[in-house]
């Protein structure tokens, strides 16, 4: 199977988000950038499928030069090679624009069987890239996938999906796009030899312009425009009770009833 995994670099989840002084974005100074946690599940699943069915795993990422670090992490997990689409000449792009860029990168090659993505990226939390790419490629999709079996010969996939209070089984034809959810697998840690090997793996550098896309046009065509950011309102000062558990519990119930008016 020839599998692409779309990966994104995001701020570490331990980051305390601060805003740029004009509120136009977040303050990126001092941020530790990591591979999007859900992408690790996508990569792991791709590696497992490759090991079962042979083939190759190709990482595709769009972003500034720093994303190479996330790409190398995926290569160290065991992906075979990568395509990095730099954001040169692409000042600002929305979800659709980003999906177009990724699809253009995929379309440089033929014979993809599967595109895996994380179910969402934990920066903008939009959860749009997977279905958008599927729609633009006109392939079927399933997001929030918890389990899957591939019938490579029959070119079919059975995926289980997590819903609210339910799980769902979906049958898809290949090629398809799948979005990985936590619980799908346990991502492997890169071993030292694999980290060394990853350094020599191919990362093909391309850009939107190389792919025939006009960055300025993508910006002009944005359908979703971010106007600014704000921090959530601060939470009120807590009331903390100590002492005898039974008394504290009784006081808490009174507070919840009279003050918070929740009970």
């Amino acid at each position: 199977m020839k599998i692409a995994v779309l990966v994104k670099q995001v701020p570490d989840t331990a980051t305390r988000i601060q805003l740029a002084s004009d509120g136009s974005g977040i303050n990126t100074a001092g941020i530790k950038w990591v591979l999007n946690p859900y992408d690790e599940f996508a990569i792991e699943e791709a590696l497992k499928l490759r090991d079962q069915h042979s083939g190759e795993v190709v990482l595709v990422s769009f972003g500034p030069a720093r994303v190479e670090e996330a790409i190398r992490q995926g290569l160290a997990m065991g992906a075979d090679r990568a395509i990095w689409v730099s954001d040169d000449g692409v000042a600002d792009v929305d979800y659709l624009g980003r999906a177009q860029i990724l699809v253009a990168a995929l379309s440089q090659e033929a014979d993809w069987d599967l595109v895996l993505v994380g179910k969402q990226a934990v920066d903008d939390d939009a959860a749009q890239t997977g279905p958008l790419v599927a729609a633009l490629l006109d392939w079927p999709q399933a997001m929030v996938v918890l389990g899957l079996t591939v019938d490579a010969a029959g070119r079919r996939i059975t995926a289980t999906r997590e819903l609210e209070g339910a799980t769902e089984t979906v049958e898809l034809t290949l090629p398809a796009v799948l979005g990985a959810q936590r619980g799908l697998n346990v991502p492997r840690y890169p071993t030292l030899p694999n980290i060394m090997k990853a350094k020599r793996k191919e990362v093909r550098h391309t850009s939107a312009a190389d792919l025939g896309l006009d960055g300025a046009q993508l910006t002009a065509d944005r359908r979703v425009v971010v106007e600014g950011y704000q921090l959530p309102p601060p939470r009120p000062e807590p009331k903390v009770l100590t002492g005898d558990p039974a008394e504290a519990a009784a006081t808490l119930v009174k507070l919840l009833h009279n003050e918070a008016q929740i009970l």
Partner: protein, 321 residues
Amino acid sequence: MSGILVVLEQWEGRVRRVGLEACATAVRLGHGPVSAVAFGAGAEAVAEAVGGLGVEELLVLPDTPFDRYSSDAFAEAVAEIVRQGEPSLVLFGATAFGKDLAPRVSGLLKAGLASDVTGIDPDGDDVAITRPVYAGKALQRVRIVGTPKLVSLRPNVQPVGAGGGPVARVSRPAVEVGAPRAVVTGTERNDETVELTEASRIVSGGRGMKASENFRLLDELAAVLGAAVGSSRPVADEGWVPHSYHVGQTGKVVSPDLYVAVGISGAIQHVAGISNSKCIVAINNDPDAPIFKVANYGVVGDLFQVVPALTAALKAHLDAS
């Protein structure tokens, strides 16, 4: 159609609550008539479920291939209905269903989608939108350019007030779609437990619970409160509770009226998932635990004493009232 279209998720005539929230939001926005579309067996019965919310027209697609969810066929159908009716705004619920479907519709129509939206208000003919990013550590203000504008709403945020008439018309739109290539062949519903993202009260346990069997204490507290049970991530990773319990930045992001964090330290990734809660109660034996910084109320003490005491006090309170 014009106006606003709400895409409902329904099974057996039951509408997911966020669908009702979306109908109420559509009416509140006041951008023309509100219509809704429902798929699958029982779609007609949805007229009753959304009755009184101000939906004027209900479009139903009860038959094959819409009796089983398929992202491709459903997205094509919504896109076709939008092309025919030209609504200015299309609302989805940001559930697994809506998150699968809405971006695919966006791709088909090349229409902008703002997902998991918590704030939406009329701004002339436009709408002003806010949505949480970084799991709620910041809020983003976005504008959608062009029409239709697509929005998926985070569950449990928008109020459902009765404020409109019954459904005036039920109609069956004529839509042609290709053979579905991603078809749901089975659904296993767990109807006994309250879904965390929809729950108005949640009791969550962390590593301080010490062992799987101690979650019984939380089940008892939850039963008295009518709450759903959740957990921190390590507890789900340990297998003390199912993965579906995991709350936080990489788990479920919840917005209940009441969130009770028991034996949870309050790591930034956990807090990110609960910061939209109206009232947070923390129970922890470490007075310096960071969870107390985000809590409205805290009890410093041994959870193995405090939780049973709280369950008893709540029972007494409910019996008295």
